[in-house]
């Protein structure tokens, strides 16, 4: 068993329960022990890049530090949490002034300066388990299913902080799809934004963006779209006008590993 500190984030506890449940069940099957810290707080959903913002970065630093204290790498599933936590970790290791301010504020027994290694769940599958080993554990391969991986914006960018894959020509989700027996669909809009939080400014912006993404996946023959992000899921389901099923990547993983009763809903 390999231990990870697990950060679910607010949405996996509420509207995206299946994203969370499947992540946990599959980790157990794969011999990964996820330890959830008792006192995590919401990451805020978006990383505030401004250097004069400190308070908005503290919840991410707190969970990074609890992983450090537990001696574990940290694992995230939601694209937004992953983005906030990795950007925080990058800036705290590269910006001495910000690091100093954060530590003066938190008053930890030992300063936190970026020691924790952060994995997205997909990176754990690729780098800790290995896609070849994952393929060997598959019980119900998704044979013949053409799956369009939707990266969106937050999973891969900015590249220097997230350091996960090539944001312009990514392969991690395509290789994941192959490992679970499906056929990956490469399409133009796979790494463009869904419209995100602009639903609160002008819903049309999200409607247009997410329709473009769904259209692009459909043109390339997708039977299904998969995502790691609850907000992408929402926009693709509610605002794109798309009739292609949209699923969380952990749901299709769970199905492939033979988990019973994997929900189709969020």
């Amino acid at each position: 068993m390999k231990n990870f500190t697990y950060y679910p984030g607010c949405t996996l506890r509420t509207k995206a329960k299946e994203l969370d449940r499947c992540a946990r069940v599959c980790a157990e099957i794969l011999g990964i022990n996820l330890e959830e810290p008792a006192d995590w707080q919401c990451c805020g959903g978006a990383y505030t890049t401004a250097k004069d913002e400190i308070a908005t970065k503290l919840s991410a630093v707190r969970v990074l530090n609890s992983a450090k204290e537990a001696g574990n790498p940290l694992i995230t599933v939601c694209s937004a949490c992953h983005n906030v936590i990795k950007q925080t970790n990058y800036d705290i290791s590269h910006d001495d002034e910000m690091c100093g301010k954060v530590n003066r504020y938190l008053g930890l027994s030992e300063n936190y300066s970026g020691e924790t290694i952060v994995y997205h769940y997909l990176e754990m599958l690729r780098d800790v388990i290995g896609f070849e080993n994952l393929a060997k554990q598959v019980k119900k391969p998704l044979k013949g299913v053409k799956i369009a991986p939707y990266y969106g914006c937050l999973l891969l960018r900015p590249k220097k902080a997230l350091a996960m894959d090539d944001p312009e020509n990514p392969s991690i989700m395509e290789n994941f799809i192959k490992a679970i027996g499906g056929t990956p669909v490469v399409y133009a809009q796979r790494n463009e934004c869904c419209g995100a939080y602009t639903i609160f400014e002008d819903k049309n912006q999200a409607v247009e963006r997410s329709a473009k993404i769904a259209e692009s996946a459909r043109e390339m023959g997708a039977d299904m779209i998969i995502t790691a992000c609850p907000l992408c899921m929402y926009n693709l389901k509610k605002n794109s006008g798309c009739d292609i099923p949209v699923r969380y990547f952990t749901e299709v993983l769970a199905e492939a590993l033979g988990v019973e009763e994997v929900g189709n809903e969020q």
């Binding site: 919401c42 250097k51 914006c153 960018r157 463009e192 934004c193 995100a196 939080y197 963006r209 509610k238």
Partner: protein, 130 residues
């Protein structure tokens, strides 16, 4: 540039960490921006107008609420200018002003539906108010 504009410019540069002088005005950031059609000022214009000290025009433009913070312009700018960070610094200056909040908590209940993820709400609060 008058001293007020000089001061606003200085604040944006400091908060964003962006070096506007690195920009070669190729327009690649705007060419790739998924919010291009919704923005009155496009990312390359943010960079140029900040250099000129035209900050108030940017602060008063709805463009600052249309940027998706998708970081496409950050990763695709050949000069490492990171325009999204400049947009964010301007937006923060606008929402930090007294009565500068773009979104009020009492507006939110009417905008919700049963599938709306918490992530959308917390992100909007972070982007649209202080």
């Amino acid at each position: 540039m008058n001293s007020k504009n000089e001061n606003l410019k200085e604040q944006v540069l400091r908060a964003s960490g962006v070096n506007v002088l690195k920009c070669m005005r190729c327009g690649k950031c705007s060419g790739t921006c998924p919010a291009y059609g919704e923005m009155e000022y496009h990312p390359h214009q943010f960079v140029y107008m900040i250099e000129k000290g035209d900050i108030e025009k940017l602060m008063n433009s709805p463009s600052i609420y249309r940027c998706l913070t998708c970081f496409a312009c950050v990763d695709r700018c050949p000069r490492g200018v990171e325009p999204a960070k400049a947009v964010e610094a301007v937006r923060l200056m606008a929402v930090r002003k007294q009565d500068g909040n773009r979104l009020k908590p009492e507006q939110i209940p009417d905008m919700l539906d049963e599938d709306m993820p918490q992530q959308a709400i917390v992100t909007a609060l972070r982007k649209y108010r202080k």
